[in-house]
């Protein structure tokens, strides 16, 4: 077991072991790069990384450049999880056979994918990896939309969000289905650790990533990643929007250990109304017309119910 990295403060954290270069093509204000840096900087161990096709991939590995100062692979849209699982299998094989070049190293295997790559097209591949018990971490950069291709709906898109394939219009309020509960589905694979994280709560993030890297077996992380382009907010407001996401409890932060021990890891001192979170983003703008205001009320009720559910589950330990 490698020693857990000790992190004193944000300044040190943001500059330590920088294996993801600032030289990339992501939009100004994109949360992806913040999340990736937080995940990578949580450990000093060697990394074998994968990314599914999507914003992160197309913005960080355009030949002849790479933003990655660690082993990294991209295959396709749906199979980033399995790419890392295959690499992990090779690591185990070479370890058994005594053919590792640096046998003293303790590499971590991490795959990144957007919500489209994870909730939709790569769902089966992730499920397979979780079920088979590979010693790997899968991180969803959840921006609730196919951002790389111009803002189409995914099964992570929330009710009322206007996307290019489910737009708001004269007779439509946009997305009609609520997002998939991916963390619960993954936890139901009986994996040792799953969690929801947010880049604004970096200490919580580091704790969870380090926990995930320390356990044996597959780990699933869902990271909320506000998208300046598709959520329609000013690039300077990324952290403000993230604060609204966590403080309104639209994105509650919690972890599930062995599919029975649920811990809420962040309880906002002042809970922000969901309406405030929605009002800060252009994708919900149309919901503020009188005829759709009931949807905002329903949103608040859903968030309240989910928060109550999480608390009950935390208490019940089931």
């Amino acid at each position: 077991m490698s020693e857990m990295k000790k992190i004193k403060n944000l300044k040190e954290f943001s500059t330590s072991a920088d294996r993801f270069e600032g030289a990339n093509l992501l939009c100004p204000g994109c949360a992806h790069s913040i999340i990736v840096r937080e995940v990578l900087n949580a450990t000093n161990d060697d990394l074998v990384l994968a990314a599914s096709t999507g914003c992160l991939e197309v913005c960080t590995a355009v030949y002849p450049y790479t933003s990655w100062d660690a082993s990294w692979i991209h295959i396709g849209f749906e199979n980033g999880s399995t790419a890392v699982a295959g690499a992990e299998a090779m690591y185990n094989a070479l370890k058994t056979k005594g053919r590792l070049k640096q046998p003293e190293r303790n590499p971590k295997f991490v795959a990144f994918g957007g919500d489209g790559a994870s909730y939709d097209i790569g769902f089966q591949w992730i499920s397979g990896c979780m079920e088979r018990g590979h010693n790997m971490m899968y991180v969803v950069l959840d921006n609730e939309v196919y951002a790389n291709t111009g803002g189409q709906r995914s099964s992570s898109t929330p009710i009322g969000s206007s996307t290019t394939t489910a737009p708001a219009g004269k007779v439509s309020y946009g997305e009609r289905k609520n997002k998939k509960d991916m963390v619960s589905i993954m936890a139901a694979h009986q994996i040792p650790y799953s969690a929801q994280v947010a880049p604004n709560k970096w200490k919580d993030m580091v704790k969870k990533i380090q926990h995930g890297m320390a356990v044996e077996g597959p780990v699933f992380i869902n990271a909320v990643s506000p998208c300046t382009t598709e959520w329609k907010f000013d690039p300077k407001d990324t952290m403000h929007i993230t604060d609204l996401a966590t403080d309104s409890l639209v994105f509650p932060l919690y972890e599930i250990i062995d599919n029975h021990e649920l811990n809420i890891t962040y309880r906002p001192k002042n809970v922000v109304p969901v309406e405030e979170y929605m009002a800060a983003q252009g994708r919900f703008k149309h919901l503020f017309k009188d005829e759709y205001k009931y949807l905002i009320k329903e949103w608040q009720e859903r968030v309240d119910a989910n928060w109550a559910y999480l608390q009950r589950r935390e208490e019940a330990r089931v």
Partner: protein, 407 residues
């Protein structure tokens, strides 16, 4: 726990599937990621059984689909080690996206393809539809005609694919059921000789070398994509066949079995020739012999290498032939068959001016009988006697109903 070796008899009675499993065991593969599908299932079953009995030290990962199987193989190969899997038909079709990714990323994976028809209608039997689906995928494709070949071609596949001048994935094809489930005597190599032939895997750009981080699977648009594809094609066209020939020569030294890029039977003085692949080669050889007893100078050309297509070798083999039949075991669905087109292509700018006929046969595992081949040779000879093409350029042979011909 070290794995156990196996004492094989000099000749074992194996079907094509088990022959492939045994060759995979002897090559000491580091990772096999696989998903079962008829008729290749016994390859992974056999391999799993060997793993369960400590005959295999490498990892064996049974994944949830063929797409995941090849995805896992790609991840494993990029990590740096020997990788292989097996599939057929629909599974092959599901893999197609990743086949292009594996070859474009220059990863030396070996894929045993037990050829089977493609639905619809659903069919589990052997034809070459899946093999043909893979022919533009950038893989090397070797063709086995019998269980012995299926065993031997696996060693050739690893040897060529993993060569640092090549670094391209390689398929080993065998006919579904006709080879995969037909037990025959297979001359074996002992474990040490077999492993000695393929040698220890030599990694290149391996992700598990942490002193040299590497980025695999980048994006290239109009600025670089063409150059990458051109280079891959260049290596297929110029480097692979010499490496295969060298591997065949080395293999002959340890096994006594001689393979050729293009297999020629009774071709020295042939007037008429059938060009085909897989189990059909053996049937055609037998019929060619019988035709010769009737005074028809019949020969057979078998493709041992489907991709890269042995353009000059085929032209050389057919340069004196007056009438040629190209046998395609896959429906061209609106065009001449692949072999018809390739053969026409390699003869067009040569002094040879043979008559070329295309025959589509054996779809969905329909037998190619000796009677069919007698008819084909008889047609070829009739054209030779007439001095011109008197038969359609494309015929379906062995299909029920009125005679079906085109072109």
């Amino acid at each position: 726990m070290a794995f156990d070796k196996v004492e094989l008899k000099d000749i074992e009675v194996w079907d094509g599937n088990f022959a492939a499993s045994q060759a995979m065991r002897q090559c000491q593969i580091d990772v096999v990621a696989a998903y079962p599908i008829t008729p290749s299932t016994p390859i992974v079953e056999g391999y799993g059984n060997m793993k369960a009995n400590n005959l295999i030290e490498g990892e064996f990962v049974m994944v949830e689909s063929e797409h995941a199987a090849m995805s896992g193989c790609i991840g494993a190969a990029a990590a740096g080690g020997r990788v292989a899997t097996a599939t057929s038909s629909q599974g092959f079709a599901l893999m197609v996206e990743t086949l292009y990714q594996a070859s474009g990323m220059r990863l030396p994976i070996v894929l045993n393809v037990v050829n089977r028809a493609l639905a619809a209608p659903l069919n589990v039997n052997g034809d070459h539809s899946d093999m043909y689906l893979g022919r533009d995928s950038g893989w090397i494709q070797l063709d086995a005609y019998c269980p012995q070949d299926a065993y031997d071609m696996n060693f050739i596949a690893f040897k060529v694919a993993e060569d640092h001048d090549v670094r391209l994935p390689c398929m080993v094809h065998q006919d579904g059921f006709m080879t995969s489930h037909t037990a025959q005597g297979v001359h074996t190599l002992d474990d040490d000789t077999a492993y000695g032939f393929v040698g220890e895997f030599k990694p290149m750009n391996d992700m598990l070398d942490f002193e040299h981080p590497v980025t695999h699977g980048v994006q290239t648009e109009e600025d670089w994509h063409f150059e990458h594809k051109a280079r891959q094609h260049n290596d297929l066209m110029t480097k692979v066949l010499p490496k295969i020939q060298a591997a065949f020569d080395d293999f002959e030294k340890i096994s006594g079995r001689k393979y050729n890029i293009v297999e020629k039977y009774d071709m020295e003085d042939a007037d008429v020739a059938v060009v085909c692949m897989g189990t059909s080669v053996e049937t055609a050889r037998e019929v060619a012999g019988e035709m010769r007893e009737k005074g028809i100078k019949a020969g057979v050309v078998g493709l041992r290498v489907v991709r890269p297509f042995p353009f000059f070798e085929i032209a050389e083999a057919l340069k004196e032939v007056k009438a040629i039949a190209a046998l395609d075991r896959s429906s061209p669905n609106g065009a001449p068959g692949m072999l018809f087109n390739e053969i026409a292509g390699c003869l067009i700018n040569t002094p040879a001016n043979p008559m070329l006929s295309g025959f589509v046969y054996g779809l969905g595992g329909r037998d190619l009988t000796k009677k069919h081949l007698v008819e084909i040779y008889t047609q070829l000879q009739a054209n030779v006697d007439a001095g011109k093409l008197t038969t359609p350029q494309q015929q379906f042979i062995g299909v029920r109903g009125p005679k079906l011909s085109f072109l």
